[in-house]
């Protein structure tokens, strides 16, 4: 009862944490530099992905809320479904067909989020559940990254509607830097590989620019105190440390830490995916362990696993560990004896 007044004083003070919906909207705002940069390099297919996924997100959320007899308008206003759509949209290859996006969003919103009880109750990151499902179910479509291209590719519309003949699809796609490096072959040294100019022109620099744009968005989130530094710092820290160890052990076969940082979804994942508070560990110590685990898994999967990029799987695997991390990372309250740390219930 009385605490309501505490909440009430809140509204008088602008420096206080904004409501949940504002947090979600700030995250969406922070994705704009990344989306803009991606669109600039990879064409408007990026934008079509985002818009389609966002529309699916809102539509599916509204539909399932109605089925669950939950307030639709209020819940849609929290913008969390919109955010899930944006995040999945930018993760997919540009100009993905509409049905691919639809299947991904069904997995994200309906299965991963609402079937677990809606916002705040999902153990897994919804966007990454959608992404992982698509990656294992439709590998051909999911690996179709075009090389940097003009803003409005000719076949954009055909691609989105899914009417492009399969034969032409291959012609449009290229390898991502991570993909190319992964499949360079055991016998080829890293220096030899790069000497062959394996990627279309500008690919590497395009990916770097995109990564830096995500970093800019992440810095905005940190500056606005929408996210805390713990998860990104721990994740990037462990990623760099592990990548450096591998690189120093054999620079001719392992990619450099900078390559790991600036290609693929590393920075995007660090600031926009791993920081999803609902599915992350909750205490500060838990967040550090959680982030470090993601960073380590990314390097391990990229280096030894079957997939060129690994952010989605790393995040989902660490989501699985969250209950354990939460149980063993309870901070010691003031006044509690030191021994009660991590005590069993």
């Amino acid at each position: 009862m009385s605490m309501m007044h505490a909440a009430q004083v809140t509204s008088a003070n602008a420096t206080i944490v904004p409501p949940t919906a504002h947090l979600m909207r700030w995250v969406i705002v922070a994705t704009l530099p990344g989306i803009a940069t991606m669109s600039y390099f990879f064409g408007l297919g990026v934008l079509s992905n985002v818009m389609l996924a966002a529309a699916f997100g809102l539509g599916l959320e509204a539909a399932i809320l109605r089925l669950r007899n939950r307030p639709v308008q209020v819940t849609l206003n929290d913008s969390s479904a919109l955010l899930t759509g944006v995040l999945l949209g930018v993760s997919l290859p540009p100009a993905s067909p509409w049905w691919l996006i639809g299947v991904g969003m069904i997995a994200a919103i309906i299965v991963a989020k609402q079937l677990y009880g809606g916002l705040g109750h999902n153990p897994f990151n919804p966007a990454m559940v959608g992404y992982a499902l698509l990656l294992v179910s439709f590998p051909t479509y999911m690996t179709l990254w075009p090389p940097p291209q003009e803003l409005l590719p000719e076949s954009l519309w055909a691609q989105i509607t899914g009417t492009l003949p399969a034969g032409q699809l291959d012609g449009l796609s290229g390898a991502t830097p991570l993909d190319a490096f992964k499949h360079k072959g055991e016998a080829v040294l890293a220096s030899e590989f790069w000497a062959t100019h394996p990627l279309p022109e500008d690919t590497l620099s395009a990916w770097r620019w995109v990564a830096l744009a995500w970093l800019a968005g992440g810095v905005l989130l940190l500056a606005k105190r929408i996210i805390s530094w713990h998860i990104p710092a721990a994740m990037l820290g462990s990623l760099v440390v592990l990548a450096t160890l591998f690189y120093l052990s054999d620079p001719s076969h392992f990619a450099s830490p900078l390559f790991h940082l600036l290609t693929g979804a590393t920075l995007f994942g660090a600031f926009f995916i791993a920081t999803d508070p609902v599915s992350a560990a909750t205490s500060r110590r838990g967040k550090l362990l959680y982030g470090a685990g993601i960073g380590a898994l990314i390097i391990i999967i990229r280096t030894f696993g079957g997939y060129p990029d690994a952010v989605a799987f790393a995040v989902l695997l660490m989501n699985l560990c969250v209950p354990l991390l939460d149980l063993y990372s309870v901070p010691r309250p003031t006044g509690q004896p030191k021994s009660s740390r991590g005590e069993q219930p």
Partner: protein, 551 residues
């Protein structure tokens, strides 16, 4: 500035103290009638010792303390007792304001016991909010060595300025009260903790500490941050001592007092004036003359606010205490008590109703502001699931209910309400468990007594029978032989359990003499009954089989 030792978390809510700290401290008009609840303190309610129709003076005892933790109650106006019921005493004023004072005591000369008795007689309780009887608190030295008396003048809650104003007007008197309290508890240091948003009070204290003796007083100004006025937080911040979980400041050798309480102690000792009035902050946008008043206990809140220019149509709610930890009054027909430090007559604009709550997204803001390093988001989850074991794991009972978590929650979840509910539910369960245990032990005692009586009866019967009979039959003898062994074992076990019960009782009585021991005594009695029953059975069996029993 002394910020070397800090407690974690904390928030900076809007202070809104200007509204009430501009005006000088004045006396509220004498009320025509006062309503004095019998419970204005923690512990047992007081028992009335006057009858309707009795005439009383200001300071006459009208209800006496009942039991260990309780406090006397005095008439706060002179007049006639008009009504007494189970919860309160009502006095109608005669308009004379005649006083009945106790003789003045020179605290530097008299024995500590005389001072303690004076505090007891005067009905002094902690005026900071909890209302713990001061004479009981002063007796803490019996169990603990106190090295520091801490004056908690942080007053970190928004709106409240009662301590601020008290210190501006009575800095010398408050310090003298502190010297009395320090004498009682044997403290060698006196430290004042005050937030830096009270420059005038700080200046007054600077002047006053120069002529405060015999103990030198140390003034520590801390930066303003809620909840620095929490006892444990202030002790951590000023003295870098950590009060153990579930413990008291006395466990680390500290005694905390609020300035108002110290002033009341001085008034009781020096002026022989019992606790009949206190300083109350009247504030909020719905009154036109905010400020602090000396208010006689029992004055109606409604009358008090009306005298301060209450704008009834603007009023949305009245909150007693601060906006963070206080509670809204359900009715204005309620009296000012020893615990009323602030009344906020709030408009709907200044303290609007809380927005609809949305689901927790585990953002962790609450965790970063918790002054006790709890995980409010996890507690919330388990509180809603009624998972008491998990809440204990997350240290629910270390929560000080400061409300910082609710304040920052972007989902507007009334977190502290959840915790309070869970706490009271768990407390009730514990009481129920103890009660059930008690009932079980009573039942066991009865069973044991009946068994013993039955055994004795049986023994007498057998004795009579065996006198009549010459020799027991061989069949009976063989069955008796088996029984004898079992009986010896039972006898030894009963003996052991009596010893165990005696030991437990002695240990508990030594550790905590104040704890009720009847349950343990009952368990001892049960064990004794069992022992006697087995003894009787054993002797009887032996008598029947003298030849088989080897010595």
């Amino acid at each position: 500035m002394s910020n070397a030792f800090d407690f974690p978390g904390g928030i900076h809510p809007p202070e809104r103290k200007q509204r009430s700290n501009q005006a000088a401290l004045i006396n509220a008009p004498l009320p025509g009638r006062v309503t004095l609840p019998l419970q204005q303190h923690s512990g047992q309610p007081a028992t009335p010792c006057v009858a309707p129709g009795d005439t009383v003076k200001v300071g006459s005892v009208i209800a006496k303390r009942e039991g260990m933790i309780s406090s006397n109650l005095h008439a706060s106006i002179s007049g006639t007792v008009s009504e007494i019921n189970a919860t309160q005493i009502i006095i109608d004023s005669d308009g004379q304001d005649e006083w009945l004072r106790l003789p003045s005591l020179d605290w530097q000369r008299v024995e500590p016991n005389a001072l303690l008795e004076r505090l007891n007689e005067s009905g002094i309780v902690g005026l900071g909010g909890a209302g713990f009887p001061t004479h009981i608190k002063a007796r803490v030295v019996e169990q603990h060595d106190i090295h520091t008396l801490l004056i908690n003048a942080a007053e970190c809650e928004p709106y409240i300025t009662a301590d601020d104003i008290t210190l501006r007007h009575y800095a010398n008197d408050v310090l003298e009260g502190a010297q009395i309290s320090a004498k009682l508890c044997g403290a060698q240091h006196i430290v004042i903790g005050i937030e830096d948003n009270k420059p005038e009070a700080i200046e007054a204290l600077r002047q006053a500490i120069q002529n405060s003796h015999p103990i030198t007083v140390e003034l520590k100004v801390i930066s303003t941050r809620y909840p620095s006025g929490g006892e444990h937080q202030l002790i951590k911040k000023l003295l870098d001592l950590t009060v153990p979980s579930g413990g008291l400041p006395a466990d680390v050798g500290v005694l905390c007092h609020n300035p108002g309480t110290l002033l009341a102690i001085l008034h009781a000792v020096r002026d022989g004036q019992p606790l009949v009035s206190r300083v109350v902050t009247l504030t909020g946008e719905a009154i036109s003359q905010p400020g602090n008043r000396w208010v006689r206990l029992g004055t109606s809140v409604k009358a008090l606010l009306e005298q301060a220019g209450l704008n009834q149509p603007m009023l949305n709610q009245v909150i007693q205490g601060g906006p963070m930890m206080g509670a809204p009054l359900l009715t204005l027909d309620t009296p000012v008590t020893k615990l009323t430090n602030c009344l906020i007559a709030a408009t709907i604009v200044e303290l609007p109703p809380a927005p609809e709550e949305s689901p927790c997204i585990r953002c962790g803001e609450c965790e970063s502001v918790c002054p006790v390093s709890l995980l409010p988001q996890q507690l919330h989850w388990y509180a809603r699931a009624n998972d008491d074991a998990k809440m204990a794991h997350y240290h629910l009972f270390d929560c000080i209910e400061c409300g910082a978590c609710s304040y920052v929650c972007p989902s507007h979840i009334p977190l502290v309400d959840d915790y309070r509910e869970a706490k009271s539910r768990i407390r009730l369960q514990r009481i129920e468990t103890v009660k059930a245990e008690h009932a079980k032990h009573r039942f066991e005692f009865r069973q044991a007594r009946l068994a013993r009586e039955e055994a004795e009866k049986q023994a007498r019967k057998e004795a009579r029978k065996s006198q009549q009979r010459q020799t027991p039959t061989s069949a009976a003898a063989s069955s008796e032989k088996v029984d004898l062994r079992g009986l010896r074992i039972a006898h030894a076990a009963a003996k052991a359990s009596v010893k165990k019960a005696e030991k437990t009782l002695a240990r508990v009585a030594q550790e905590d003499p104040k704890q009720p021991l009847d349950d343990l005594e009952m368990q001892l009695a049960t064990a004794q009954e069992n022992l006697r029953a087995t003894e009787v059975q054993l002797t009887q069996a032996r008598e029947q089989q003298p030849s088989k029993e080897s010595p």
